[in-house]
């Protein structure tokens, strides 16, 4: 029974979709990363170290590419909170990967301003070139295709972000396949970056 008389839930809707993932390799911060985290933790009052959970998870992701269950437990121990509290954060925010991803995570903005300039076609082109659907990684483990919601660079639409960090602006849909080739050949140098950042030099 749904809350609205005319909206029926699909079968299986009430079945929890949560899967217990395999535990993965043991995890600990490298000494350098641990020092970085402790430096960041000084930004917050000592009794509110939990504020450093998101920065800690970024460091985890930098170190091992995604956030595994052992990493969640390690962060909880280092921060001084429960693993459930860290898991709560990991499962909420869009930028944490909960399973291994390809070398380049290609994230296409799909929200209105980019969509009006052809973002749907950018995604379709990349999907066709790689032979994968949104959310999947190609068989070689090089590319993961994802869609993102508004990246905040609507004047340079359509925008593609790679690995949560590197921007690529004004992507013409018909050239999206070529972007993958140049990414493979020259890495992040293939990307335009943010146009404001480029102006600095």
């Amino acid at each position: 029974m749904s809350f609205h008389p005319e909206m029926r839930y699909e079968s299986g809707m009430h079945v929890s979709q949560r899967e217990l993932r395999p535990d993965g390799e043991p995890f600990a911060f490298t000494p350098a990363n641990r020092d970085r985290l402790e430096q960041i933790a000084t930004h917050y009052p000592a009794e509110h170290r939990r504020s450093a959970v998101i920065p800690a998870l970024y460091i985890v992701q930098e170190q091992q590419g995604y956030v595994s269950a052992p990493a969640i437990r390690h962060v909880a121990e280092v921060i001084g909170c429960t693993p459930a509290e860290v898991d709560d954060v990991v499962t909420y925010y869009a930028m944490f990967f909960r399973q291994p991803v390809g070398k380049y995570v290609v994230q296409v903005c799909r929200t209105l301003s980019c969509a009006l300039r052809g973002a749907e076609r950018v995604t379709a082109e990349i999907s066709k070139t790689l032979g994968v659907s949104v959310g999947e990684t190609d068989p070689t483990g090089t590319f993961t295709l994802m869609e993102m919601e508004c990246l905040g660079a609507c004047d340079r639409a359509p925008v593609v972000m790679v690995n949560n960090e590197h921007w690529h602006e004004c992507q013409a849909p018909e050239d999206a396949g070529r972007l993958l080739e140049s990414l493979k050949a020259s890495g992040e140098a293939a990307l335009t970056g943010c146009h404001l950042e480029v102006e600095r030099d």
Binding site: H4, M95, S113, R121, G152, C154, N164, W167
Partner: protein, 425 residues
Amino acid sequence: MDPVLTSHVREPRGATLDAYVGRGGYEGLRKALGLAPAQVIDMVKASGLRGRGGAGFPTGMKWQFVPKDSPRPKYLCCNADESEPGTFKDHVLMERNPHLLFEGCLIGCYAIGAKVAYIYIRGEFSHVQRVLEAEIEAARAKGYLGKNIFGSGFDCEIYAHRGAGAYEAGEESALLESLEGKRAQPRLRPPFPAVVGLYGCPTAINNVETLCNVPLILTNGPEWFASLGPEKNGGPKLYCISGHVEKPGVYETSMHVTIRELIDKYGGGIRGGRTLKAVIPGGSSTPVILPDQIDAQASFDGLVKAGSMLGSAAIIVMDDTTCMVWLAENLMHFYRHESCGKCTPCREGTDWLLKILRRIERGEGTMRDIDLLADVASNIGGKTLCPFGDAAVAPVLSTILHFRAEYEAHVREGRCTCPADWRAM
């Protein structure tokens, strides 16, 4: 009006401390430190500065709500989450004029009695974080922040804190939750953040553009600021123009400007000489307006009169190739994805709305579905802890209001009646 916030953003190395001090930077702070905190608040109140994040609430009043006599530490949080679809103005200020923001933060901290300011940047802005952190270090090295600023006895630190991808973190109480290392979900109010905010302490939360205006008020005076725009809508304003225009971008002018001028004069007109179909004037959460309404003044009050809102001044322009059912579906996908899940009407309702919109857009809907949309929407708007619910239903309700015939045509013809070539069909 000549730009004042963005006058130097295109200059090479214009973002550095030396360049900023060279053009008279940090003079507003020096002036503020010579005044009593209450006098600073009075100046901001006299200027009529209204919050640039979306709500347009008077900034001076917000600061006055922070209790002076609280024994607890106080905080200033700068909302740099900038996630409203169509908005990309704060990003320009932070990257190209970061010291203006720092100066605004420092003046704000002095006014409310805070010793720490956090700038909460959205997760996708890692390049902005790098700029801010480098410039914070530069300012600290020269004594513009840290201990005993300008020998006044005022201590203040600024930290850049980066989120991790959540639209809801731009809602002020959810921002505080996120900054505390939790899920970005809104809090029940009252108590308001001014009294019980970050770590349970009194907190002022202001948008980037709002804080960037504060040093200008100190240096040029509240009368100058108010005189830049129409009554109660003073000061410079950044507009983000995107979508089907020739020259999308961030443009600074006064709030005397109309939506038509912004599209034609600043945005270079509709792309490819096509005709205008609809405009979202203040970010995806504000109702769409029609071509016959674009002579409305693009001010807080002018757009309310036109039945919409200035919001974050994100103007998204749609030409005649745009399907309005598709538009509602696109934005509903956004809201369904970003609903934080705390309130049932929003969490469940956005999912239902998306499913219904999707079937209408695919030509599988019925006439009753159109009324069903309105019915579900009426159970979300006004029934959630934060304004997200109202925002989520605005695109659906305003497109049904103005373009009902288009919805009906989808149902009647069993297909999308406006398939543009820029879409993947």
